[in-house]
């Protein structure tokens, strides 16, 4: 009887090999690496959080990945962006580009700050992480298009997007834009910082692409009922 439970705690291969599987048994839960979560006192927890804590105490937990730490500089969105920018598994170069981009953005913003008159100084955002997040938010599409076949023809049907999909699209557009539409002598970090600053003020090619997608979805409103989910 205990054999079937210890079977859940070992590295695992499913009986039928699925396409997307992991070495962890589905019984394992995701880890929580942030420090603040564990310092909340008992009284301030909601019943769901209490239940979650009790569940975590009896279930095995997966190991934290290499890119995750409890430090304040650990940002899941930024890590995702670094991974998407990575080519052939070379994370050192990708992380280097991102660091240079953030530094470049900070330099430009500080320069602007010092040149601005007194009244305008408070409006200029100098934190590169804040700029990055806001720029990504401005690039996220609200609605997407799906190719649905009906009666022999393929129609572009507007569909709602999940949060993950929206974030993925924003990042993908940003990276492809910076790789393709630049002069061959501009470096990646230079182009990326330009695009991010433009997206932060809702200008630039990536935001334009998002608006185009929205317009297409609006024009294809008539086909919205083709969606069945």
């Amino acid at each position: 009887m205990a054999a079937s439970l210890t079977g859940l705690l070992k590295p695992w291969t499913p009986r039928v090999l699925l396409v997307r599987w992991s070495r962890y048994n589905p019984y394992y839960l995701e880890p929580e690496p942030r420090k603040e979560v564990y310092h909340i006192p008992e009284t301030e927890l909601t019943p769901e959080q209490k239940e979650e804590r009790e569940l975590k105490s009896v279930r095995p937990i997966k190991a934290a990945t290499n890119s995750v730490t409890s430090s304040v500089f650990n940002d899941p969105v930024l890590s995702k962006f670094v991974n998407m920018m990575m080519k052939d598994g070379d994370k050192i170069i990708a992380k280097g580009i991102i660091t240079q981009t953030l530094e470049n953005m900070k330099r430009k913003q500080v320069e602007k700050y010092h040149k601005a008159p007194e009244g305008k100084k408070a409006e200029i955002e100098c934190n590169p992480y804040a700029i990055f997040h806001q720029a990504l938010e401005n690039c996220k599409p609200v609605i997407g298009l799906a190719s649905i076949q009906k009666g022999g023809k393929f129609y572009q049907v507007p569909i709602p997007l999940t949060d993950n999909r929206r974030r993925f699209l924003a990042m993908k557009w940003m990276i492809t834009e910076c790789r393709d539409n630049k002069h061959r002598r501009t470096l990646m970090y230079e182009k990326l910082s330009q695009e991010l600053l433009a997206a932060f003020s809702k200008e630039g090619n990536v935001v334009k692409r998002k608006h185009e997608l929205h317009k297409m979805a609006e024009s294809n409103r008539a086909y919205a009922h083709y969606r069945w989910w």
């Binding site: 079937s4 690496p33 420090k35 569940l55 009896v58 190991a63 290499n66 730490t69 050192i92 992380k95």
Partner: protein, 374 residues
């Protein structure tokens, strides 16, 4: 035999009006039934623990009844009121007279024993369980009494304004359902897999109903406590060297790299790996962050002196191996609650991910050969 009685007793605890409400609420096939049909192992049922998800995951029982009877909602919930009972009694009497005429006997002197014998004659049943055979009994002696008592109690509470919907839920988080072997042991008979799956379905269904906490004892008899995971961690006792400084060792592995760490409580915070400084050994920031992760998480960054040795693998896996080794060595310096937080942060689990093997007929683990049409 006992299994059937158990199934019937779980059925019996459902009053019909709740059953109809539940059937109307959750329509069609659900995830639970899909998983069951795929023949996954039984731990799936043990993972259904949250009260919030129970209603979604319990499978539709008696689907055909839902399909045939269309106007259930219009009819309203079935109430075991006095008129209903009177109607049932009248129907029973009329049926008794018809039965007596069919058997060629006098309707006036037709006793219950005569009824039983006639039913057994007219509907010969090969079933062994007495409760499973067709029966015809006076309504007062049978099924309605318990349900009627429940209704009366609810009405009394409503009159006193004590009838509240927010009854306490049974806490099921730290326990699991009995395994098939354990259930067989309890019932002293062998059960088929279908029977066991059915049993789990019915118990989950029971838990999805309101006021299930009334039958908490019944439910807890078929659940076992899960052991707390943090108690499985082996914490080495602290050792002291000749100067009285506390030290401990730990080792860890990741992919092909193995690392060992000697943690000393001296208070300087220096780290040496294979004889060299950690800044020179790990030029990449991410690897150094991984070394700091357990120390920063516990807030003891400058306290320990570390002498590490590592071999095998690449720089990332060496950093991961050392992280696990440091976490394990730190356990001796920490309290129980801190060990549990470290485990929940994912620091104490050895990472099982390895390089996926190459398959024959493919170029790599996933990459297929170039597809050629001819």
């Amino acid at each position: 035999m006992q299994m059937q009685r158990l199934l019937l007793s779980t059925y019996f605890l459902f009053s019909p009006e709740r059953r109809t409400a539940n059937m109307a609420a959750s329509g069609g096939r659900t995830v639970g039934s899909f998983l069951w049909k795929c023949g996954n192992c039984c731990f799936n049922f043990n993972t259904v623990s949250s009260n919030l998800t129970r209603q979604v995951l319990s499978r539709q029982l008696c689907v055909s009844a839902v399909l045939h009877r269309k106007n259930l909602a219009a009819a309203g919930p079935e109430k075991f009121s006095e008129e209903f009972i009177k109607k049932q009694v009248e129907e029973f009497n009329i049926g008794k007279r018809h039965l007596a005429n069919m058997m060629g006997e006098d309707p006036e002197t037709f006793t219950q024993g005569d009824i039983n014998r006639s039913i057994a004659y007219l509907f010969p049943s090969g079933l062994f369980d007495k409760k499973a055979k067709p029966l015809m009994k006076h309504p007062d002696e049978d099924t309605f009494t318990k349900a009627l008592a429940v209704e009366k109690h609810q009405d009394r509470l409503r009159g006193k304004d004590l009838f509240t919907q927010d009854a306490k839920q049974i806490s099921l988080v730290g326990s699991r359902w009995l395994l098939k072997e354990e259930l067989e042991e309890l019932l002293v008979e062998t059960i088929s897999e279908h029977d066991y799956a059915r049993f789990i379905q019915l118990m989950e269904r029971l838990l999805s109903l309101p006021y299930c906490s009334v039958e908490e004892d019944f439910v807890q008899r078929y659940r076992r406590q899960l052991e707390i995971q943090s108690s499985k961690q082996q914490v080495q006792p602290l050792q002291y060297d000749q100067h009285g400084v506390a030290y401990s060792t730990g080792d860890g592995r990741r992919k092909t790299a193995t690392g060992t760490v000697l943690l000393r409580d001296s208070g300087s915070g220096s780290i040496s790996i294979n004889g060299t400084n950690y800044v020179h050994y790990f030029p990449v920031l991410q690897d150094r962050e991984q070394l700091m992760f357990p120390l920063h998480f516990m807030g003891v960054l400058g306290r320990f002196d570390m002498q590490c040795s590592v071999s095998g693998g690449g720089h990332s896996s060496q950093a991961g191996a050392l992280r696990l080794a440091i976490s394990r060595a730190m356990l001796s310096f920490l309290s129980e609650g801190q060990v549990e937080t470290m485990r929940q942060a994912g620091l104490l689990t050895p990472d099982p991910r390895i390089k996926e093997r190459k398959k024959p007929g493919q170029e790599g683990a996933r990459r297929k050969f170039t597809w050629k049409k001819r």
